[in-house]
């Protein structure tokens, strides 16, 4: 107890007295720890190598996958390449160009047509001029229906009446009537023209119909009459002479009989005396079989160009055959 001294100083100054060799076990523990560390270091090294290898493998696998997928893509790309894009484009262009060329061709053709039309114009005449078909043009080829002709005649008469009527009127009016005549006459012409056209169209219509029903038994309007035209002319039965003649397109007659073709009923054979009508039922070769309501039948048979027979087959009664020669 020499001096007053702080306890902390005392402890600090005397701390070396605590120094002490630790037990021998401590070194052994430290040494084993160091050995462990060394081996652990090795294992760490191995582990590091293994990890690096794993990473490398992973990268390799990923790159392989990407490369493979790229290859797949590139395979598709190769497919595309096998039909090169340029070719596609060319093809497309070609189609476009062919389209274009066809268009151009069309245009050129149209231009040609236009040119031809200009060089050889269809003469249409002035606007006031009307396309009028005269009666003459039709008389040759087509016989206008009698009614129509009558109608025309009546109209002409009317016109003539009008004319006469206009002649009676004052000179001023006369002038006017002249004008009216000039105006009216083309109109009449046009009307006639229309009528004729109607007849024409009817004919055409019937033709059309005929062509559609060729297999029908009642062959059709007019054709059957035409088929029966062999009967025209003079025929001899025993000593009497019978003449068949064509009255119009649908009618052939002699003294006893009338062959009439109608649109609805077909060909009919009418007995002039009894006014009994027999409708065409069937055709067998050169035979034409007609039958009435009572099932009485008449068979018209063209045996050869110089001979035909008319067979009467009443439903009840005796069969009767009449033979005609040229």
């Amino acid at each position: 107890m020499k001096d007053k001294k702080d306890i902390s100083d005392l402890i600090r100054d005397n701390q070396h007295k605590l120094d002490e060799r630790p037990s021998a076990r401590t070194w052994e523990r430290l040494e084993s720890k160091l050995d462990n560390q060394r081996s652990r270091g090795n294992t760490f090294l191995y582990r590091k190598i293994a990890m690096a290898a794993a990473v490398v493998a992973l990268v390799a696998v990923i790159s392989l996958i990407t490369v493979l997928s790229d290859n797949q893509n590139s395979q598709f790309a190769n497919v595309n390449k096998s039909a090169p894009v340029e070719n596609w484009v060319v093809q497309d262009l070609e189609t476009v160009y062919t389209d274009a060329s066809s268009n151009v061709r069309m245009v050129v053709e149209f231009q040609k047509e236009l040119k031809e039309r200009y060089t050889n114009p269809i003469e249409e005449g002035a606007q006031a001029k009307k396309l009028v078909a005269s009666n003459k043009t039709f008389t040759g080829s087509v016989n206008p229906p009698e009614g129509l002709i009558a109608k025309l005649d009546a109209k002409n008469q009317e016109l003539s009446l009008e004319k006469t009527h206009s002649n009676v009127s004052t000179p001023k009016e006369e002038n006017m009537s002249h004008i009216s005549e000039a105006e009216s006459s083309p109109v009449e012409d046009v009307q006639v023209n229309i009528d004729l056209n109607e007849a024409k169209t009817n004919q055409a219509f019937s033709k059309k119909r005929r062509s559609t029903n060729t297999d029908d038994i009642a062959k059709d309007y007019l054709t059957l009459t035409q088929q029966m035209e062999w009967i025209l002319g003079a025929w001899r039965e025993n000593d009497t002479l019978v003449e068949w003649q064509k009255v119009n397109k649908s009618t052939i007659l002699c003294d006893e009989f009338l062959l009439k073709e109608k649109r609805n009923t077909g060909l009919q054979l009418i007995d002039s005396k009894s006014q009994e009508s027999y409708a065409l039922v069937s055709e067998e070769g050169n035979q034409k079989i007609f039958s009435n309501k009572n099932s009485d039948r008449i068979i018209l048979e063209n045996i050869n160009p110089n001979k035909f027979t008319i067979t009467f087959l009443p439903a009840q009664g005796v069969k009767k055959v009449r033979t005609f020669f040229k």
């Binding site: 001294k5 306890i7 160091l34």
Partner: protein
């Protein structure tokens, strides 16, 4: 083996050098460990762990400053980690009745056991900060950073530690060699007087 040879040898992981390092520094470091840890086994564990770290991380010693100081810092740190790990690292707060009476009359010399007795009777928090501040020479700021406490806590803990130490000294008057002799002599005289 000189210090340099030991360092070089340890860098090459030479077992002889490592052993030499152990032989040279383990007593001192064991003393350090004992100051921080009451338990002898704990002190040994910390010593082994600290020296192992020092040897295995010898490459981190750049050669500036003393090698012993470097090892010591590692060992101290290890001791602190050990204390923290075992969760006996609580700061005892006894702010009241702080007397500042830094000087007491005790013997100049303290035996190892005396020191250990004194330190062992301090709570862990007191002892740690006392050790760090007084013996290791850390600043309060460093201690605070190191232990994750405030500077004021470090200061107060140090004051409390000193106060407790004085109390301890007063209570069991650490007898010096002379004192013991005196005690023996006095007891002998009393015995003779009886006879």
């Amino acid at each position: 083996m000189t210090e340099q040879e030991i360092i070089q040898g340890c860098r090459k992981q030479d077992r002889q050098a490592q052993k030499a390092l152990y032989e040279k520094y383990s007593p001192k470091m064991f003393g350090v460990c004992k100051r921080y840890l009451k338990n002898h086994e704990d002190a040994e564990d910390v010593l082994v762990e600290g020296l192992f770290k020092a040897i295995s991380k010898i490459d981190m010693f750049k050669g500036d400053g003393s090698f012993e100081g470097w090892i010591r810092r590692i060992v101290v740190n290890e001791a602190l980690m050990h204390l923290r790990k075992n969760k006996n690292f609580k700061m005892t707060v006894e702010i009241s009745n702080i007397e500042i009476q830094s000087f007491i009359t005790i013997q100049d010399e303290l035996e190892a056991q005396d020191i250990l007795n004194l330190l062992d009777k301090l709570p862990t928090g007191y002892r740690t900060i006392f050790n760090l501040y007084v013996v290791e020479g850390f600043k309060h700021r460093e201690i605070a950073e190191h232990l994750g406490i405030s500077i004021n806590t470090s200061k107060s803990q140090l004051i409390l530690a000193k106060k407790r130490l004085r109390k301890l000294v007063r209570e069991n008057q650490v007898p010096g060699v002379g004192g013991i002799l005196l005690l023996i002599v006095s007891s002998l005289t009393t015995a003779l007087s009886i006879f």
